[in-house]
Structures are given as structure tokens and as C-alpha cells.
Symmetry: C2
Subunit: 188 residues, 2 copies
């Protein structure tokens, strides 16, 4: 089987064209030079980056949200999350802000649970995951067009839901399993 060297896999930008710039999406259609010298098209979204958090209470419950996601037409059970204000924004500051705005919860301790590219084939979005502990309660301040419900669910119940297919949102499924493995001592 033919193996390519790492540099032989790389694609180089020939030209880059903005095809849609909205409030949320920023879509480009680039022409690239393939490893074999031919050209191809690459369509993708430029994203500022995001953060999400598993906020665990002293009783072992997670503060969760239920939110309607228009693209999939479902109310999803999700952990609190939000976009960065800018690519260079401090991610811990961003998650403290989003958690407080959406749920009124103030994180005492934050633990980094890693990050991932949700859709590397067509978006440069990077999502960083945190575990939040030592929670206290402040003032909720939702954005004008945000509608979501907040509830507490035991972590053990969410792990069962993740494994039995009841958590449909990628970052939620991932961060819940990471938090579970971390709490068991397997994630460090």
C-alpha cells in the first residue's frame, strides 16, 4: 500500500474566496493544490472557537440546559457552552462568562478536559471542554434571542444517557464521558 510522507499529504492554497458572510457563518470556497499537483476545491466555515463546561455540584449533579437547535429541529439536552468573543480570548474567562450568563452559576475551580475539532472537514471550529466545581450562584443574563431551560441531572445518569444514545449533541456526549473518566481517575 502506498504511504505518503506527512508533507506529501499537505494541500496548498491557490486562491481563497468569501462566498457567504452572515452573523454566524463565514463561508469560503478555496482552490487548493493537491499532493499530486492537481487542483481541487475546499469549502469551509471560519469559526472563532468555542468553550463548553460540565458544572458539577457538591451533590454530583450537572447543571444542564435544554435548547432548541433549529438546524436539527430538536430540543437538545446540552452542557453550557458558548462562542469566544475573539480568537485570542482567554478560554477560561470565556467559559466563566458563558456559564454565568446562561445559568447564573459561578465556577470556583475549572479543570481542562481537552479540546476537539467538531467538523474538521468543513469548519475550523475548536471546542475546549472544562469541568467546573466549587460552584456558587450569581445572576443569569441570557442574550435577547436565547431561550433555554436549566436543570440539574446526576452525572451517573448522564453517563448512562451518553452510552445509551440519549445525548445527541457532540460536545455534551464527549465532555460527559471525559468528566466521568476524569472523576474515575482515568483522565489525567
Amino acid at each position: 500500500m502506498k504511504e505518503f510522507a506527512k508533507t506529501e499529504l499537505t494541500e496548498k492554497t491557490v486562491s481563497s474566496r468569501s462566498v457567504f458572510r452572515g452573523h454566524l457563518l463565514d463561508i469560503y470556497d478555496d482552490e487548493v493544490l493537491l499532493p499530486n499537483g492537481q487542483t481541487s476545491k475546499r469549502e469551509y466555515n471560519r469559526h472563532v472557537g468555542a468553550v463548553c463546561v460540565v458544572p458539577i455540584t457538591a451533590e454530583g449533579n450537572v447543571i444542564m440546559e435544554r435548547q432548541y437547535r433549529y438546524p436539527v429541529g430538536e430540543v437538545l439536552l446540552e452542557i453550557p457552552a458558548g462562542k469566544l468573543n475573539a480568537r485570542e480570548e482567554d478560554r477560561e474567562e470565556a467559559i466563566r462568562r458563558e456559564l454565568c450568563e446562561e445559568t447564573g452559576v459561578v465556577a470556583g475551580t475549572l479543570v481542562d478536559l481537552g479540546w476537539f475539532y467538531p467538523a474538521a472537514a468543513y469548519s475550523d471550529e475548536k471546542i475546549t471542554m472544562y469541568l467546573a466545581k466549587d460552584l456558587s450562584y450569581g445572576e443569569r443574563a441570557l442574550d435577547e434571542d436565547e431561550f433555554l431551560n436549566v436543570e440539574e441531572i446526576p452525572l451517573s445518569e448522564l453517563v448512562r444517557a451518553a452510552l445509551s444514545g440519549e445525548l445527541h449533541d457532540a460536545k455534551t456526549q464527549m465532555a460527559i464521558l471525559r468528566a466521568y473518566l476524569f472523576e474515575k481517575g482515568e483522565g489525567r
Copy 2:
């Protein structure tokens, strides 16, 4: 704290507009009616759906791929995956096809590991995960503009990599952890 009923969270389509239709992306900009009676915009990608697979050899190794992902500018270590040919395509047939085309591996047994929406805020893509066992070897048949390397890595090594932050691709990180928990008897 105000709680919304499930129906009160739903957004209704007022109008839908196609703003970019490429080879890969199919972008819409819809106007929606919010629960409070006001309107807002929702931008999203319509996706046919995808499948991915953790193919495990009798020795406990996983058949992995290294592939350049232009949007993020990195060579990513990923499990085999691919888009469906159509929304209604049988997902088991699709993953057998993609696995064979990309790696030359023929899956004997497939186990469903669940599914997720990678980016429900701006794409309706749904990715279904499988575990493949009882592997045999056929003929590799890459698409013309596909360049990727194939290698075998022990599952235990990949679980360590997932937890220490070395696997950057969402579906890979998720499916490896799901496969690990399934093999330990926690995922059923």
C-alpha cells in the same frame, strides 16, 4: 428562574433562503419566529449524514488514517469515515463501503456505537459510529482527490491519546472512548 415548556422553546420557519450551494456545503439563511414572537436569523449547512468506524483487528489494533484537513491546516489521525450517498442510504452498507474504499479492509461484524450531531448550532449533520470486528482484506479504492495514510495502532494507545489530548478529531475521540467503554462492558 423562568422555565420554558418544550413547545415554548421551538422556533418556526418564516422563510428559507439558499445562500451557497457548493460541492460539499449547502448553506441556508432562514428567518425564524422565536418563542417570544420576535424574529431572528438562523444560518446553517444541510448535510446528507456520515458514518465512521473503529475497525479492531484480532490483535487489538485499530486501523487508523492520517489525512490532511484543509480547514484546520493539520494532518489529523482519524478513524475511517465517509459521507452517505443519500440521506436514506443504509448506514451499515455505507460504512462497509467507506472502510473498504479507504483502507481495503472488509468488516465481518459491525456493532452500533451510537450517533451524534457534531455541530447542531449550524449543521444538521448526523454521524453514526460503529465498531468493526472479524476483519479481512480486500482492495483499496481511494477517490481521485483523496490522499491518506493507513496504519495500525493499539486501542489502548489510542484511549491514552484521546484522554491526553492527542486526538483532535471529534468523531475519532468519541468513537475511540465509546469503543473502549463498550469493550469493557460499560457501553451496552
